[in-house]
């Protein structure tokens, strides 16, 4: 009898320990307690996320992470970048290894629902394209029948490629690769005739070549690829913070708030929308569990959406992407931040 009492105690203690470890807090509380934001990024895609010569991560997606870190923790450098491949990214997010995933990931139905992610918006409207060597003499994706095509495994592009070639009754041989760097190497070695990924990724990859003028991006865009940051499903408050940080950057551009004039606008702006955005009137920050100046810090981190775009991937950079669909709605683009009210 006493033996079973002893064993029962051991079991109960183990169970209690188990339950204690299984407990979880909200993402915001975890990030604040850790005093560091874990951000899942690309392993290396110039312009979007890549470490520079001195090891600092820079890029379009990086800038979003920094803005979020600034909004939540008050410092754009309180951040840990976790490089993820196309294969590991969603697992990294759902397992809690990263708090937010900003890694040129396409917002799709099944990812939003079945994968239990929440995409918080679109930070780049993209589409899948093909890059070929000029020497190949190909001017259209329709001429790629029988070609060998390099493709990053675990991406939506893999499915689009299969669909596109079937729809056009063409054959191809896929060469599956794990990262953009490997794709670049295979493509340069001629192990594949064409490299396919999002058009922005192709432009970024081409910009890193020694001879970018010898490679052309074919005119066909075969899919819609709305790229955006994602968070885990189920923590709506954290999702709100991530969503409205992105919206704040977009709205700031729309209202002409830049990293240079923001201090002045905080003091002197007469526009009520700007006042609410910058936290000088109303207490919008408190509604998402942050202080009043959260959006101010997010914009100060790297500037508004337009500044981030121009600094990392815009026409003045080697990547040279035009705003196109990614212009403000007032400029004929698709960027449209809901009102800050």
């Amino acid at each position: 009898m006493k033996k079973s009492v002893f064993l029962g105690t051991v079991t109960a203690a183990t169970l209690l320990a188990g339950m204690g470890m299984a407990q979880e807090g909200s993402t915001l509380a975890q990030v604040k307690e850790r005093d560091e934001l874990n951000c899942g990024v690309n392993t290396g895609l110039v312009g979007f996320a890549a470490p520079d010569a001195s090891g600092n991560w820079t890029g379009f997606d990086i800038a979003y992470c920094r803005a979020l870190a600034a909004a939540v923790l008050g410092d754009p450098n309180k951040i840990k970048f976790v490089p993820t491949t196309g294969q590991t990214r969603f697992t990294a997010l759902s397992s809690g290894e990263v708090d937010v995933l900003a890694r040129n990931s396409t917002w799709t139905y099944s990812r939003d629902t079945d994968l239990k992610l929440d995409f918080v918006g679109v930070n780049y409207y993209d589409g899948q394209g093909f890059m070929v060597n000029r020497d190949l003499g190909v001017t259209s994706a329709k001429e790629l029948d029988g070609a060998t095509i390099c493709i990053q495994t675990g991406t939506t592009t893999e499915l689009n490629l299969a669909d596109y070639f079937r729809a056009n009754n063409m054959a191809y041989t896929p060469v599956n690769i794990d990262s953009n760097a490997e794709g670049e190497q295979q493509y340069m070695a001629g192990a594949c005739d064409a490299y396919t990924t999002d058009a922005s990724g192709l432009a970024a990859t081409r910009a890193a070549f020694a001879d970018p003028e010898n490679h052309i991006i074919l005119p066909e865009i075969i899919s819609k690829e709305p790229l955006g940051p994602a968070v885990r499903h189920g923590d709506s408050n954290w999702g709100d913070i991530a969503r409205w940080t992105l919206n704040a950057l977009v709205a700031a551009e729309e209202y002409g708030v830049t990293s240079r004039n923001i201090e002045e606008l905080v003091r002197s702006s007469e526009n009520p929308e700007v006042q609410r955005l910058l936290g000088t009137t109303d207490e919008l920050g408190a509604m998402i569990g942050l202080d009043a100046e959260w959006a101010r810090r997010a914009i100060l981190a790297n500037g508004n959406y337009g500044e981030i775009f121009a600094a990392n991937i815009g026409e003045q950079t080697p990547i040279g992407l035009a705003r196109g669909l990614n212009a403000q709605w007032t400029q004929g683009g698709l960027l449209y931040a809901p009102p800050f009210r």
Binding site: T14, S94, G146, D163, N176, C192
Partner: protein, 418 residues
């Protein structure tokens, strides 16, 4: 137990659980058992709880959904419209292909290197030592990447074969093209195609293939019967009849007849559009993976073979030499059969290692089980737990089958104690 109680044992006290030798082992076993079960329970409970927290279920329904992605090497017919299950089977077959090829090549190379390392030729033996130490002491992944990089960087792309002044040429009478994507081999074609046996699920076997298998297996059985007959004659009369031409005829003539009957011939690949078509394109990822697995595992097998040979007592070879056997006959008839007893058990582990190591295929984009079920399928469906569990079980079953088969072989060669 009742007897012990009858002899007036002292009344049971709690301290006896630890201090009394009759109970102590039982106590510790129960404690360990409980701890193990508690740990397992904790892991499972935690998993279920966390899955529920994320709103995810645990079911394998995704296997029957449309896969939607293409695979470059498909041993059975497969299109993007097929299910994830079929994609996983394609991956499993690709794993088996590289594992079987690797095991065969690694064994052949390993035995040669292991024997050669014991050679009396100083230079030869030292070269083999260098081979073993180089391949055994560097990570396999590096070897796979190096071999693959060598293939893609050094060999010419297919369009180098184009035109009248092509910078690259095909070898072996214009039958084989080595490119940086694949090795284009000629395929076997038939003028009298007998059609195929349909096994359902779009899996077919050509009747000609079946005919060849039947003829080869039959020839092998007849060869054994001829040898048994020769042995019988030798035992009775002391003279062994000449059998080599009979066995040779049994093994080759039916096959030659089939080749003539079906009109079997080679069809060389030709460059059309971007790639070689009409032949069999063996992708460099397969060749690189196979070569790296072979070299790496062969280094270990060489050491096992060497150990096995050294385990055979020196007196055995001296006795064989005294009987006038030539060195190669001594090796094949006296030493290797005895060494096999030592070699087979660790060889099983090497085969298992090679099979499991083949899951590094993803590094070179070879779509094995890890690449399909554990790669694209896992990623597109988000069923991490299910895919990983399924993959672990598959590798487990695969390993158990290999080890069961090798154990049967081991039972046949091991020392028979009578």
């Amino acid at each position: 137990m009742t007897d012990i109680r009858a002899t007036a044992t002292p009344p049971f006290r709690l301290s006896m659980l630890v201090n009394d030798r009759r109970y102590r082992s039982l106590t510790f076993q129960v404690i360990v058992f409980i701890l193990v079960m508690a740990a397992a329970w904790w892991l499972i409970d935690n998993t279920i709880r966390n899955l529920a927290l994320m709103g995810k279920s645990f079911d394998f329904g995704f296997l029957f959904q449309r896969a939607g992605y293409d695979i470059s090497q498909t041993p059975i017919p497969y299109t993007a419209d097929d299910t994830h299950l079929r994609a996983s089977v394609v991956g499993l077959l690709n794993t088996l292909i590289v594992a079987v090829l690797g095991c065969i090549a690694a064994t052949v190379l390993g035995v040669i290197v292991g024997v050669a390392r014991l050679s009396r030729n100083w230079l030869f033996a030292r070269l083999m030592t260098v081979f073993v130490e180089i391949f055994r002491n560097m990570p396999l992944l590096l070897w796979i990447l190096i071999v693959y990089a060598v293939f893609t960087e050094i060999l010419p792309p297919p369009n180098a074969f184009r035109g009248d002044e092509a910078s690259a040429g095909m070898i072996l009478f214009d039958n084989v093209a080595l490119t940086n994507r694949y090795t284009a081999l000629p395929t076997l074609a038939m003028t009298n195609d007998p059609g195929s046996l349909d096994l359902g699920a779009r899996i077919t076997f050509n009747w000609a293939t079946i005919a060849f298998v039947v003829v080869l297996v039959g020839g092998w059985i007849v060869r054994r019967m001829i040898r048994a007959w020769a042995q019988d004659v030798q035992d009775r009369t002391g003279d062994r009849p000449v059998t080599w031409w009979k066995t040779l005829a049994v093994m080759t003539l039916p096959s030659l007849f089939l080749i003539w009957f079906f009109g079997l011939h080679l069809e060389a690949p030709s460059l059309q559009g971007f790639n070689f078509t009409g032949g069999l394109n063996v992708s460099n990822s397969l060749v690189a993976l196979w070569l790296a697995l072979t070299l790496y595992t062969a280094a270990f097998i060489a050491e096992i073979v060497r150990a096995g040979i050294l385990a055979v007592s020196r007196g055995q070879s001296e006795a064989a030499f005294a009987l006038g056997l030539r060195p190669n006959r001594t090796m094949s008839l006296v030493i290797l059969p005895q060494a096999l007893r030592v070699i087979i058990p660790p060889l099983i582990s090497q085969y298992l290692n090679l099979t499991k190591n083949s899951s590094l295929a993803i590094a070179v984009g070879y779509m094995d089980l890890r690449g399909t079920l554990g790669g694209t399928t896992l990623n597109q469906t988000g069923r991490e737990l299910e895919a990983i569990v399924l993959m672990m079980l598959t590798y487990l079953v695969l390993s158990l089958i290999i080890s069961a088969g090798m154990n049967v072989f081991n039972a046949r060669v091991k020392l028979k104690e009578r």
